[in-house]
């Protein structure tokens, strides 16, 4: 039962897509950016589907070994296997693009002028869209004239030819922190379960000196002996009125 809960939680966490849809209020956001380079997001989705299917199989297999004591480990084995499977079956580019906005291409020819979207270096070495059809070419000719003659849509089109993302698009949050914090809490929970199990099944009984009566006698003896009387223990006891200060 618990393993099913863990498994479902893990599924929902990894299926959460943290890259948000572009909010309507931003400038230039009504037009979808033209994709000049292939986006590795679909690759990630396909890989994840495959992984989830595999893990479902694994989970069912693991569930079929049924002793009651191992019901916690079953769910955890499923999680461990799935994490390894995700790492093994996806490439680093796909994994990075699931959270970061850097669409990573696997091979870049650094001897050619490159394009980049960087907040601190605004003007890349080349434009985003180098391959212009006739419509774009005529627009570029029109750009050589007075810019007051350009309509708003034409200005936006020119921007999108030159650049991939706008500044707000570059700065958009990735929501990665939710995965991190969520993962942390999952591990805290697992650790808590382990600690509780340990306390119940592994630890020997406490020495009898931890009992209430013994502790009370011990504290009275420490006060009688004036243990740490200057700033520590006995300094906090009011000997005249027989109470803590």
């Amino acid at each position: 039962m618990l393993s099913q809960i863990v498994y479902l939680h893990w599924l929902s966490f990894s299926k959460l897509s943290h890259t948000p849809s572009l909010p309507i209020a931003l400038p230039f956001s009504h037009q979808e950016p033209k994709l000049r380079h292939s986006n590795s997001a679909p690759k990630q989705a396909i890989a994840e589907e495959r992984v989830h299917f595999l893990i479902h199989i694994v989970f069912l297999k693991v569930q079929s070994l049924s002793t009651n004591m191992l019901h916690l480990t079953k769910g955890r084995v499923g999680c461990l296997l799935s994490k390894r499977a995700v790492v093994g079956l996806t490439n680093s580019g796909a994994r990075m693009s699931s959270h970061s906005h850097h669409e990573v291409s696997d091979q870049v020819d650094m001897s050619q002028p490159m394009y980049w979207d960087r907040l601190d270096t605004p003007l890349p070495d080349r434009a985003w869209n180098d391959v212009l059809d006739s419509k774009d070419k005529s627009l570029k000719e029109k750009e050589k004239g007075p810019w007051t003659a350009l309509s708003k849509e034409e200005k936006i089109a020119l921007y999108r030819l030159k650049f991939n993302h706008t500044y707000p698009e570059m700065k958009r949050p990735s929501h990665e922190w939710k995965t991190v914090i969520g993962g942390m809490f999952i591990f805290f929970g697992i650790t808590g379960l382990v600690v509780f199990w340990q306390g119940h099944y592994v630890y020997p009984p406490q020495p009898h000196t931890f009992g209430e009566e013994w502790q009370a006698k011990q504290i009275q003896r420490m006060l009688d002996m004036r243990v740490n009387p200057i700033e520590g223990f006995s300094a906090k006891w009011d000997y005249k009125n027989k109470q803590w200060k």
Binding site: L119, T209, W214, R226, V227, N228, I230
Partner: protein, 230 residues
């Protein structure tokens, strides 16, 4: 002894321990100040939106962050060395006691006037009287007169041990074949607990040290009684 959930040092029972407490406060304050500064700088660096890609070097800041740490180190070293030499001073003790470490108990010899020697074993947990401290009580305590300089000669009969009493500010390794000297003055009467501080086998955690500082008349009565019992 330590009280429950204690974090800091035990109250000093000797002048040397008082000095150590004050030095620790001094050094810890310096450490905390430096750590706060570093933490602030880290947070400021991480959370800024500004970038600067063109700084190469700066002579002024290099000088500052070389000289300032050197000054701080001197400020820590001077009190430290002062206490070190203070502990080494010639102290003209009133009494010399030999503390010998064995597996797994201590034995004390008071041989200045008569031949007094006895063993000090830990009281096992099942034999404790209600109110006694688990793993700390011994059957015989090392009794010393209060406010008298005491010299302790520490050695061992088998393996390495270490004779330590934190509230007196004393720790000295017990090395077989070697005689190590340490000294203390108990500034107030009381019972002071310590534990063996060098791994010495299976019962290393179960050979505590108990020093009882009493007025001189009580010490004389005690030593007479111990001699009669022997």
């Amino acid at each position: 002894m330590a009280h429950p959930s204690q974090l800091g040092f035990q109250d000093a029972a000797s002048p040397v321990m008082e000095e150590l407490l004050h030095f620790h406060d001094h050094a810890l304050m310096i450490v905390l100040l430096i750590s706060t500064l570093v933490l602030y700088i880290i947070v400021a660096m991480v959370s800024t939106k500004l970038t600067n890609k063109y700084i190469l070097d700066s002579q002024e800041i290099e000088i500052v962050w070389t000289v300032l740490p050197a000054v701080i180190l001197i400020l820590i070293a001077l009190p430290s060395l002062r206490i070190l030499y203070l502990m080494d001073e010639i102290n003209d003790p009133h009494l010399t006691i030999k503390a010998m470490g064995h597996q797994w108990y201590w034995s004390y010899e008071y041989t200045d006037y008569e031949d007094l020697g006895f063993d000090s074993y830990m009281v096992p947990t099942q034999d404790l009287v209600p109110g006694q401290f688990r793993l700390l009580e011994t059957d015989h305590r090392m009794v010393v007169p209060v406010e008298s300089p005491i010299r302790v000669l520490v050695s061992a009969e088998d393996v390495l041990h270490s004779w330590a009493v934190p509230s007196l500010g004393v720790k000295m390794d017990a090395v077989p074949g070697r005689l190590n000297q340490t000294a203390f003055i108990a500034s107030r009467p009381g019972v002071f607990y310590g534990q063996c501080s060098e791994i010495c086998g299976a019962n290393h955690s179960f050979m505590p040290i108990v020093v009882e500082a009493v007025p001189l008349e009580h010490f004389e009565k005690w030593s007479t009684m111990m001699l009669e019992d022997a």
